[in-house]
């Protein structure tokens, strides 16, 4: 047995440096967490019914006028918490996908989850006929049915990818390619459903659904999203060392005692289901799952111990800020946040490619 001599601490430098780095990372995470809370408080004051921060705090602790309390608790709070949980869910899922597939381009969109959900929603609107009945306006009469339809489509897409991985091999390449194939299949499906939509209202509903909008949630859906997000994050965090091992390379990870195929498949399943759930309730919110993990890697590094919480915080912050901008920028018009994230996301990603290409 190779044991170390007792005078191990000849040079404590590297370990001390490592601990110092970890402390820095923890401080950054703490600052990020505080920023989310501050931003959430600020966002609560904004809207067509202006309030001061004092009004908000009074309403939160149960004082103040009934109107304020109603506005805060029934309208703004669900929206803000949705932004926080959806942002965290999308970002951390993207990070896990990138990590287990060891591919910087993996994300809910590249793996076909978003496209499948869009197809499912369009299927619900056109074939199941929910969403356009008598209202003659773009609305979703039965949001749960559309969400369910979107969720089922995402599960089918994920299922096909994982099944393919089981038949062929669970290699990252197989899965990415399968995701690309499923994406284009579902896009074709959505396009044909649009063609067969009976009226403009249906057509409008399909298109409108694809713009992710946090205003669609209420307390029940928010609770579902929040519980699932928290459970998934706990699962991911328990796997943090496996993700670190996988980052050392496929074979190395296996010789470090990690069942890489199993880890990859279960992690992909959990992250896909989580994004499918979020997308089913709020619509497609592009780029958060792709861009946030790359930004966070530049700030706290690749170690999953810090990357997982970092992605949750940064995803929450990004979506919260984006949504706040989207709903106040053209006030009283509320822009769906999905449009804004795509606008911010694409140039941000190009910037990361130019500045940070050495990172992968």
């Amino acid at each position: 047995m190779t044991t170390l001599p007792s005078s191990v601490s000849v040079s404590p430098n590297p370990a001390a440096q490592h601990r110092r780095q970890n402390l820095h990372k923890n401080i950054i995470l703490l600052i990020g967490g505080i920023l989310v809370i501050v931003m959430a408080m600020y966002a609560l004051t904004l809207g067509p019914y202006p309030m001061t921060i004092g009004d908000v705090i009074r309403a939160l602790i149960g004082n103040g006028s009934d109107v304020y309390r109603a506005v805060i608790w029934n309208i703004r709070m669900t929206r803000i918490l949705s932004a926080i949980f959806a942002g965290a869910a999308l970002a951390v899922s993207g990070m896990v996908m990138q990590n287990v597939l060891r591919n910087p381009l993996a994300s809910p969109s590249t793996l076909g989850v978003s496209r499948a959900a869009s197809f499912g929603a369009a299927f619900g609107i056109v074939i199941l006929g929910v969403g356009s009945t008598q209202s003659h306006s773009v609305s979703f009469d039965m949001p749960y049915l559309i969400a369910l339809s979107a969720f089922i489509a995402s599960i089918i897409s994920t299922g096909v990818i994982i099944l393919l991985a089981r038949i062929r091999d669970a290699s990252p390449e197989t899965m990415i390619l399968a995701g690309v194939a499923m994406s284009s299949l579902f896009t074709a499906g959505t396009t044909s459903l649009r063609y067969f939509a009976i009226d403009e209202v249906q057509l409008g509903s399909i298109i409108f659904w694809t713009f992710g909008d946090l205003g669609r949630t209420e307390w029940t859906t928010l609770t579902i999203i929040a519980v699932c997000t928290v459970v998934a994050i706990i699962y991911f965090f328990l796997n943090r060392w496996r993700y670190n091992a996988i980052n050392s390379g496929e074979e190395v990870a296996r010789t470090l005692g990690v069942d890489t195929s199993r880890t990859r498949i279960i992690s992909l399943l959990v992250s896909s289901l989580l994004t499918a759930l979020v997308v089913s309730f709020v619509g497609v919110i592009g780029f958060v799952g792709l861009v946030v993990p790359h930004i966070v890697r530049r700030i706290v590094g690749t170690d999953s111990r810090f990357l997982i919480p970092g992605c949750c915080i940064a995803g929450a912050l990004l979506l919260l800020v984006s949504d706040t901008v989207a709903r106040t920028m053209l006030s009283p018009v509320i822009m769906p946040v999905g449009i804004l994230t795509s606008f911010i996301g694409a140039p941000l990603f190009i910037y990361l490619i130019i500045r940070g290409r050495k990172h992968w």
Binding site: Q17, R102, W241, N247, L256, G257
Partner: protein, 265 residues
């Protein structure tokens, strides 16, 4: 003396194609074993069997009197360290973190002080302590190779397997790497397997050589016993001249026409 590794009649098939046949070897700790042989002769497959990356189709591998097939993944990871031929491009991590990954088979919730000390110690052993916070994407081939070995050593293994570690290194780094591996093997009383193409390098540093041909052991023993003109001709199909300088041997490939000339010298 009980041998650290006993390979008993091991065979391996890729589908229907046999890659290893009836491999039997028994080796004590503290030796550096060179696996030599042409491409496709089974060097890498044998290493992969030893690391548990593939399961032998037949036969047994006994490490430290435990049957490899009965060991769990983590147990095996505490016994055998592996340095692959090519490093897949990871997301960037500092050297310290890359080496800390070697502690994963020993970790429960978080690295202990002991784990961090093991990493520190190995970094200084591998002359990497001054750059421990540098990102591994910025390293040269030789440095990267040292980081990989450091990670494998952090596992505190009894067996170390290196798959063609000298590929992509210039001659100076080849020599220093083999020297390092030999010293580590002796000082830590490990058993190290390297697959290697350079016969001179192999003969110079390895305690024993295993010459493979078509998945079978053609010859094994000391470099002098294994690297004979007949063996090299039979396995590689080339003619060589072998010069002896004390303990060292030099193998020089020759054309048929040149053989006579060389024999004159």
């Amino acid at each position: 003396m009980v041998d650290l590794v006993t390979i008993n009649n091991v065979s391996f098939n890729y589908g229907k194609i046999p890659a290893l046949r009836n491999i039997t070897l028994s080796i004590p700790a503290g030796s550096l074993i060179g696996m030599i042989g042409p491409n496709g002769s089974g060097k890498t497959t044998l290493i992969r069997c030893l690391c548990g990356l593939v399961k032998p189709s037949g036969g047994t591998i006994i490490i430290n009197s435990k049957d490899l097939s009965s060991l769990g993944r983590r147990d095996l990871a505490r016994l055998v360290g592996y340095v692959p031929q090519v490093q897949e491009k990871p997301f960037p991590v500092p050297i310290f973190d890359a080496v800390l990954a070697g502690r994963i088979p020993h970790l429960e919730w978080a690295p202990s002080i002991y784990d961090l000390d093991v990493v520190s110690h190995i970094l200084s052993l591998m002359d990497l302590e001054d750059i421990s916070q540098r990102n591994i994407n910025t390293l040269s081939g030789g440095q990267m190779q040292r980081v990989q070995i450091a990670r494998a050593l952090a596992q505190e293994p009894l067996i170390l397997c290196l798959d063609e570690p000298t590929n992509n290194l210039d001659i100076k780094h080849q020599l220093s790497l083999m020297n390092l591996v030999r010293n580590l093997t002796r000082n830590r009383n490990m058993l190290t397997f390297v697959s290697i193409h350079d016969l001179n390098l192999a003969s110079q540093y390895c305690d024993r050589l295993v010459l493979l041909k078509n998945g079978e052991i053609f010859s094994s023993g000391t470099p002098q016993e294994v690297l004979t003109r007949e063996n090299v001709r039979n396995v590689f199909g080339i003619n060589v001249a072998i010069h002896t300088h004390g303990d060292l041997i030099h193998i020089v490939p020759v054309n048929k026409a040149d053989v006579r000339k060389l024999e004159h010298i």
